[in-house]
């Protein structure tokens, strides 16, 4: 096997040449789908803005179906495969397992994603991302998703294979890095996700071509969500791993405690996927015991894990900053952080947005009884635009600014715009989510073409505030889209016209990672912080978060208690 390696002079990271090309291919494919999904986002937003109401109903539902699938599945998973290859081959300084198979996987994913898009844009597969049976799409729709899933599954096993090779060939010593462990978590969740997708989509495909006569709608919905929701849990694990990576890259931050962070990832592995139950809380026929156990990730242990990551990522940044001398008071470390560096600002906005907007709303919504007052309203997409767009997408955008010089060997063009991009996108999207959630609490439905119910003799009249919130939502969405367009312009522009960095030479051997001989056992963080707390500023922020969480949670119980009795 002719494997060639290069070491990046800026970052010291080592790339396997084939893995490098595969990372580029997957990342670029992801960004192309982000572009397509972004254009569709514009059309969807302008239609849901009542004052504009751009598209006719059929085109709107078609556009919304494509927007959901291109963003939630294709953009994110393509990018995640690049992250998986990076976290295994690059971080472990190892050759990638079976590169030929990796190309086959990439080809399957590409063919699958194009097939599904063609099916949707033919106009006879406007079934939304969820494609609930018995509503039927064109067979090519299911086939495309299946091909994509198979390709993604193969990529996951290539990641695992690379871990095995790294261990066997001794390219590192000790345990895998924390970021690779986070990627492993994402990979494990992906395996379950994709397997569930196969269990449900293969029979559904056979049904669409007439080989199976009936798909049970409730069974479909239950198993589909093991795929649909878990795929968002891949994103959570992946973007948390990216947060840790960026803290390490931008600050040289050490994890505060390997034990705590890895145990938190273990809680993700064990419990995060149970939350697929969030989508079945008002469904008939499934017991409250099942709902309570699954919706709470078995006693909220995965929420506990997210709260731990939410503390340890900024906490490790704080410790690193304090060691550099920004040790005054509670927040000097944060004030003196590199706010003009989009790698850092993107990560930090992603973290705050994911926690405050996405996390709190998600737990509220995922409470068995509280779900009654939000199910299928705009609150739901409001929540997941905070998690998947502000959380995952923005974290991946931040990582891109690091990857352009390191992986693609180009200078980032338009640095002035790049500096502002995370703010435009993050704040625009955060406001968009918030207004969407607001409209949802007023009862506005998701996936609904016309909240004025044109053509219906018994139209319901939403309060004027709902219309106002939808207008504000659309305007914030446009701001976010300007941010998204800026990202695409900078990324694509840098790859095409960015100044080439000095060429690096490839060699045949890897430079293995070695532990410093006789390194002492890791100790606690002596010497920094206030009052025996290594990261007091982060702790204060965490308490602010907890107080907001508790208040918001109980306010919703109060709302629920005022509504009709149900038993």
């Amino acid at each position: 096997m002719n494997t060639l390696f290069r070491t990046c002079p800026q970052s010291g990271l080592q790339f396997d040449k084939t893995a490098e090309t595969l990372m580029k291919a997957n990342a670029v494919a992801g960004v192309v789908f982000l572009l397509v999904g972004g254009i569709l986002a514009l059309l969807v937003t302008l239609t849901r803005w009542p004052a504009v109401h751009l598209l006719p109903a059929d085109t709107f539902y078609m556009t919304l179906t494509a927007h959901g699938i291109d963003m939630l599945i294709f953009w994110i998973i393509f990018f995640e495969i690049a992250v998986l290859y990076f976290c295994s081959s690059t971080l472990l300084r190892c050759r990638l397992a079976t590169p030929r198979l990796a190309w086959l996987a990439f080809a399957l994913m590409l063919i699958g994603s194009v097939t599904a898009n063609v099916a949707i844009f033919r106009g006879d597969s406007s079934v939304m991302m969820t494609s609930y049976a018995p509503m039927q799409a064109h067979p090519a729709f299911y086939l495309g998703l299946i091909l994509f899933a198979v390709g993604a599954l193969v990529s996951c096993f290539i990641f695992l294979g690379t871990l095995v090779i790294a261990k066997a060939e001794n390219t590192y010593e000790g345990s895998i890095p924390l970021v690779t462990f986070g990627a492993l978590t994402a990979c494990i969740i992906a395996v379950f996700t994709i397997a569930s997708g196969a269990i449900i989509l293969i029979p559904t495909f056979l049904w669409s071509v007439g080989l199976i006569s009936h798909i049970d709608p409730l069974m479909y919905k239950t198993v589909w969500w093991a795929f649909g929701h878990s795929s968002q849990q891949i994103n959570v694990s992946a973007h948390v791993a990216v947060w840790y990576a960026i803290a390490a890259i931008a600050f040289g931050a050490k994890p505060m405690s390997e034990k705590v962070s890895r145990t938190a990832f273990l809680l993700y592995i064990l419990f995060l996927q149970l939350a697929s139950a969030h989508h079945l809380l008002t469904d008939p026929g499934i017991s409250s015991e099942w709902k309570i156990f699954n919706t709470s990730y078995a006693m909220y242990l995965a929420v506990l894990a997210s709260m731990v990551h939410g503390l340890t990522v900024p906490g490790s940044v704080e410790v690193a900053q304090r060691k550099k001398g920004f040790n005054k008071g509670l927040f000097e470390w944060l004030r003196k952080a590199p706010w003009g560096n989009p790698v850092f600002s993107g990560m930090f906005i992603s973290l705050i947005g994911f926690g405050f907007l996405g996390g709190i709303s998600g737990v509220m919504m995922g409470t068995e009884q509280l779900n009654l007052i939000v199910h299928n309203t705009l609150y739901v997409p409001g929540h997941f635009h905070a998690t998947v767009v502000v959380g995952t997408t923005l974290a991946f955008m931040a990582l891109t600014y690091f990857l352009i010089p390191v992986l693609f060997r180009r200078e980032v063009i338009l640095p002035g715009l790049a500096k502002w991009q995370p703010y435009l996108f993050g704040i625009g999207m955060g406001a968009f989510s918030l207004f969407m959630m607001g409209a949802g609490t007023l009862g506005v439905s998701r996936r609904h073409w016309d909240i004025a119910f044109a053509g219906s003799p018994m139209a319901y009249e939403y309060p004027a505030t709902a219309y106002l919130l939808l207008g504000l939502m659309a305007v914030s969405g446009l701001v976010a889209m300007v941010g998204g367009a800026a990202y695409l312009l900078i990324t694509v522009g840098s790859l095409l016209w960015g100044k080439k960095l000095e060429p690096v030479s490839y060699r045949k051997e890897t430079v293995p990672l070695r532990l410093a001989p006789g390194a002492p056992a890791i100790e606690a963080h002596g010497g920094v912080g206030v009052g025996g707390f290594a990261a007091p500023g982060t702790f204060v922020l965490a308490l602010v978060f907890l107080v907001s969480f508790v208040l918001y949670y109980f306010i919703n119980w109060k709302y629920l208690s005022q509504t009709w009795g149900l038993s």
Partner: protein, 53 residues
């Protein structure tokens, strides 16, 4: 703790660290948990729903 040299036997690795260092054990756990609690339990509930009178 501070001075270690080549001669001292390597420190024993705690059990939890062994578990966290084993990707395939984690893969098994990560697939088994939701399969049992979410899918199998859920599907059993659905198939035992009685027929309406």
């Amino acid at each position: 703790m501070s001075n270690t040299n080549e001669a001292t036997p390597p420190e024993r690795i705690p059990v939890m660290q062994h578990i966290l260092d084993n990707p395939f054990l984690l893969l098994f756990l990560g697939v088994a948990m939701p399969t049992v609690f979410y899918i199998v339990w859920g599907v059993m509930e659905i198939v035992t729903i009685p027929v309406a009178k």
